[in-house]
Symmetry: C2
Subunit: 556 residues, 2 copies
């Protein structure tokens, strides 16, 4: 088997203008970035506003494990298979963050024969969206500190600045810093914690804004800190929403690329799945829905985080609910949920598989609570045995779930044809009857309780004193009418990453709330959420190179 | 008169593919970035390696003042005029840094009717070169701190790390920071000074590398700090040159745009003019020389910094010396050199003008020392009187210099036709007989003395004890055989910014030397050189906006 970068580098693709033409986009609407990438102008949404939306398929998964689930691979394989079956299929994915690419994760463009291309470009600078967000975020930081330095008319308390600088780099050393040192001419000293770019509220804003005017309005609402009297200060108070919009105007335009089989794919936006909502942009998904008959998209982490936020935060803005949910599971990961350690996953173990299926079961039931039809996609690995595959299929049927095996990583679109046929058939039944699990009008406590009890399977929520105080303040400003964005470990349905499978009898502790008024949600922090990753002892970066002919090595 | 952004937004330009076609570039060699920008593959240099170079015109200036000289405007106007006279003219400029655009400076794309376009794009993210350099620079920083954290096999002394993080933002608060705080899991505490991206050695490396292999080799040579035993550590010691090359492979490709009159213009690279060499990239200039018959390029600051470094640092790598030098002067700026305060510049003052011409005289003589023919371009302002213009013309003729008035800001290419004719005529005389003022084999002391005595007009150099110690160390490693890059104020021929005109009887103090082994020069620091600018009380950024139709305001 070739490596991902080898497969990617042997495939040349067709000019992106051909892909755009297939989608009936006019030359004027397409801004090429090299031969294989393009930004599509948002004016397309106006032109097609009366065209009915295509069908929407949301790909999500069980709680992720170190064994890997291959959600992107399944998403791409399913799109390719729908395309091969004669449907106008369009894929909508998040764009990768450079930090993890340089660390251990490698790229985020699928794998094997289910990839979007150009793989190296997408994983590196792509069309500059991440850099635009980094720049806008840090320009705002410079404007805040400059305001404080130049007389501080707004009376911003340097100890209460919550807006943090970001870099798209895994950089442990910037987690806790002091800035503004050096005396009278070098600024006002204060503490600063750098985060990774995808954790910036600007990333969430880009992904939830409907258009340029909405972008400006959301940016204006962002709270950057509090005065000495503890009153909130917004970007609008600083008059900075104009320059931020200017810096972000191109980043708002969706990026069009293609799969190895020339299926059109939008790769746009990539907010964190814990402190943000973890889905690609509303603008890109909407554009895909206007241009395609079947849109396959993906949400971050497991269905408890990614799908929940897609359905409760993104859908109200997108004004379109999924027509089907695909939950990706692997036998390896289910065995981990059944208690098998990482180095024994290739050993056949039906008992552990049976135990681990409890995790899948809960996610299937959760999606059904939203009134959505569910298909389980078993992403096949070479180590899976026939006995295990047969067992898992039967267990899924026992749950009342439709199930299909997929092997797009090794077999390309052909590995997902059966899955695609089942997806088409379930969508033709038109059984989607979407209903949110909570309403925005509920109190913060009620919304959090609903998520924890209904979806996580917990007993309830414990709010720390700090969180309780914050809820009172938020009520005063009317912020309690926003959806809740749970910042929780992705590894468990509970807030304890070690509790695999389907834990019960647990209480989720919410220790702090952060208002994200630009994004339009309240982040509820449970446990320790890391917003600046770090590099391992042997970073992937140090294996990467490019020779004098431009041939790339070590990117995977 | 319209503002620059108004003029820029009313001009639509032709597709960049048309400009590329005019230069006989193949479709395959052109990577479009939207309709009006493109990166050109460096393979063009191989294809045309046997074609003779075009003629090279270097535009420089007197010592800059707050009154402004308009060097870019003259460069663009001259290119347009050469084009209008039927020459295949190509312009090669530096690309702007976003930090100053957001501060007070505004854009760096010319002005009035002498502009390159698309103005807003070039001043903002352009094709992402600055962001790629920021990312590569800071990825290297993260790798250094991670190495120290993960056992520090190379024994890097955290107090001796000289590699600094950068942002392309004017951010006073990051000038002096402490990082790695927060305890055992958050890195190793140390001091850090952020600089602006254009001050990164990577920017200088991009601008001096001949090709991808040379880029890797130069990156590998960069010194990032010293061990506890004070031995130098390079990027190569960290094995990081591969990933840095990967991150920079597209940034090495020159960017092609057009002027308002469709003259092709390469805008590529923008290193600082004090701690670096202040010229656009070797790759872009060489490409322009292979594609054009007349290439007009520019060097940073006045001729004492920009032109000197162009001739002593860039020319040996470019393997091509200028065929003519254009020194830009304005009556306003010369009056400032004659002692007139900023608010009295619009008052006619022939006496001050006469005094101020001494500054111009020195630069003319300096360029003649290199054996190069010189033309003085008087960039006309509306406040200039006929009497002053006639006087300046006569004074230049007294100096034995060819002189011409240019008015491209208000008149476009027509304002530079007379200048262009004189440039053509001087080039046809073929009188360029280039000779460097110093040889690399001289000692550091001799090289610095030569620059100060021959070009600045000073009495000599005073080396601090620290600098003397460094010279001994540099000799040990053989670094003393490199050219000197003087980091000096741009406002005076001396190292004292207050000494306008043509100062004499001064000694330049060199307080510190820094080896830039990737760029291939030794920076000699004189006085205080600011490598992280700051925002003013009312930043230009806060006046910028973009409306829902994408129309931009406040960018100038």
């Amino acid at each position: 088997m070739k490596t991902d970068i080898e497969i990617a580098q042997t495939s040349h693709g067709v000019p992106i203008t051909d892909i755009a033409e297939k989608l009936n986009l006019s030359t004027d609407e397409v801004e090429q970035y090299g031969h294989l990438k393009a930004k599509i102008k948002t004016s397309v949404l106006n032109r097609l506003k009366d065209r009915p939306d295509g069908k929407l398929i949301l790909v999500t998964s069980i709680n992720p494990t170190n064994a890997g689930e291959g959600k992107s691979t399944v998403t791409i394989g399913l799109g390719d298979a729908l395309n091969a079956l004669g449907k106008q299929a369009v894929i909508a994915l998040r764009e990768p963050s450079l930090g993890p690419v340089m660390g251990t994760k490698g790229g985020a463009t699928g794998g094997g024969y289910s990839q979007v291309m150009p793989m190296a470009d997408i994983n590196l600078h792509f069309t500059g969206d991440m850099h635009a967000i980094t720049t806008a975020n840090n320009t705002l930081s410079a404007l805040i500190d400059n305001h404080i330095y130049q007389g501080n008319e707004l009376q911003i308390d340097p100890r209460r600045v919550i807006w943090k600088r970001v870099l798209d780099i895994n950089d442990r050393s910037l987690r806790q810093t002091t800035i503004g040192l050096g005396g009278l001419k070098q600024g006002v000293p204060r503490e600063e914690q750098f985060e990774i770019t995808v954790a910036s509220e600007i990333m969430a804003v880009i992904c939830l804004a409907k258009n340029l005017a909405d972008l400006t309005s959301r940016l204006s609402n962002i709270i950057i800190g509090y005065t000495f009297q503890n009153e909130p200060i917004t970007v609008g108070d600083l008059n900075a929403e104009g320059v931020l919009t200017l810096l972000l105007k191109d980043a708002l335009k969706p990026n069009l690329v293609q799969t190895l089989y020339q299926t059109p794919a939008f790769i746009h936006g990539g907010p964190f799945g814990n402190i943000a909502h973890g889905c690609n942009s509303v603008v890109a998904t909407k554009m895909a829905l206007k241009l395609g008959d079947f849109v396959v998209t993906e949400a971050g982490f497991g269905a408890d985080l990614g799908a929940e936020k897609f359905l409760d935060i993104k859908v109200p803005i997108l004004e379109k609910a999924p027509d089907a949910i695909v939950i990706v599971a692997t036998i390896r990961a289910l065995k981990m949920h059944g208690g098998v350690p990482h180095d024994e996953l290739t050993i056949e173990n039906p008992e552990a598989l049976k135990l681990g299926v409890a995790n899948l079961e809960k996610h299937v039931q959760n999606m059904q609570k939203y009134g959505l039809p569910v298909i389980v996609a078993v992403n096949q690995f070479t180590s899976d045995t026939d006995k295990e595959l047969a067992l898992l299929t039967r267990l899924c049927e026992d749950l009342g779930a439709i199930v299909e095996i997929t092997s797009s990583w090794s077999d390309g679109y052909q590995g997902s044809l059966a899955l695609a046929e089942k997806v088409i058939s379930i969508i033709e039944e038109d059984s989607s009857d979407f209903e949110a699990v909570y309403s925005f009008g509920m109190t913060i406590e009620e919304k959090a309780e609903t998520i924890v009890k209904e979806l996580y399977g917990g007993d309830g929520v414990f709010f720390t004193d700090k969180a309780k105080e914050q809820i009172e303040i938020f009520k005063k400003y009317g912020w309690d009418r926003l959806p809740i964005c749970m910042a929780k470990t992705q590894f468990s349905l509970s807030d304890d990453p070690k509790k695999v499978g389907r834990p019960s009898e647990f209480t989720v502790v919410i220790r702090e709330l952060v208002p994200k008024m630009g994004a339009g949600f309240i982040v509820a922090f449970t446990g320790d959420i890391m917003t600046m990753p770090s590099l391992p002892k042997e970073p992937a970066a140090l294996k990467m190179s490019v020779d004098s002919n431009g041939s790339i090595k070590g990117l995977f």
